[in-house]
């Protein structure tokens, strides 16, 4: 086999592998992304500020994701990032990530695994916001 045709064959194989990897990523996203729940839910949101002040809101929402559910109840602000909304301010308190301080939230007592705008809301859920410094 000439080196030219071998190089063409290698190129085709590498491109095929790349396409398979892209499709695999797409399948993983469709299979494992957080699934939203429709309908009305009663949820509880608690914000623990660094000075120890605790703000608790219990309310009813038909929002599918937490960020949307918080609108009109708890103010959150942040920046769009690769992982969704990177929350920097909750209920008026700013967490300076350049100082290693971040806002985190627990879902029913366990650390949330999704961003605030991809966290599905379920009936009876409790969300606890708090700051952490690394």
């Amino acid at each position: 086999m000439s080196s030219m045709s071998r190089q063409k064959k290698t190129t085709v194989i590498v491109i095929a592998v790349a396409v398979v990897l892209v499709l695999a990523a797409l399948v993983c996203w469709v299979s494992f992304r957080p699934q939203a729940l429709e309908g009305v839910k009663d949820i509880t949101v608690t914000v623990t500020h660094t000075d120890g002040t605790v703000v608790t809101e219990e309310f009813r929402t038909d929002a599918e994701y937490l960020a949307e559910a918080l609108e009109g109840h708890i103010d959150i602000e942040g920046e769009d990032s690769e992982y969704g909304l990177f929350v920097k301010t909750v209920d008026g308190e700013y967490a300076d990530d350049t100082e290693g301080t971040y806002w985190m939230f627990n879902v029913n007592g366990a650390m949330g695994e999704y961003g605030v705008d991809t966290q599905p809301v379920a009936d009876g859920d409790t969300y606890d916001f708090y700051t952490i410094t690394y």
Binding site: W29, Y83, D97
Partner: protein, 162 residues
């Protein structure tokens, strides 16, 4: 061209394209730099990472950048003896965009464990796909002319003799 100037171009180009979601010229320019300058490409890479820290703070993302960009330079150095086709370098650039998210998740893996890292990766897949497509298009269009230009600027004595 001096490596410091190349670093400045990488920083300026990245800032100029920052409004575009996950479409960035850094991968393209670091591949060009590593192809032309070899291991010296770590210098503009380090300057770029430091500048990102100074511009945006030494937070979570800075520590990701500390390893994620040098890995790209290292990858190019390891592959450049085996890859001579710009088409294959375009694929490398695209795949690096696709794997950028998983590479970033390594920090989440260390700090918070498998479950959190997996969720981070899943959440970022749409952005990884955009990153992959952006890198592919930029490399397909610009990798060859930019590498040729950089080669001429880095080694003017070679280009003047041809």
């Amino acid at each position: 061209m001096s490596l410091a100037l190349l670093a400045a171009i990488i920083i300026a180009a990245k800032e100029a394209m920052s409004p575009l979601p996950n479409i960035e010229p850094v991968t393209l320019l670091l591949i060009c730099a590593a192809l032309v300058y070899g291991a010296k490409a770590f210098y503009p890479c380090a300057i770029f990472v430091l500048a990102e820290g100074l511009l945006y703070g030494f937070g979570w993302y800075f520590f990701v950048y500390v390893y994620v960009w040098p890995i790209l330079v290292l990858l190019v150095l390891l592959l450049r003896k085996h890859i001579t086709s710009y088409v294959l370098w375009t694929v490398v650039s695209a795949l690096y965009g696709l794997f950028f998210g998983p590479l970033c998740c390594l920090q989440a893996l260390v700090v918070s464990g498998w479950s959190m890292a997996f969720s981070y990766w899943i959440s970022g897949i749409p952005y990884d796909l955009i990153h992959c497509a952006g890198n592919a298009v930029l490399a397909a269009v610009l990798l060859k002319p930019l590498t040729t230009l950089l080669q001429r600027l880095a080694h003017p004595e070679q280009s003047s003799s041809t």
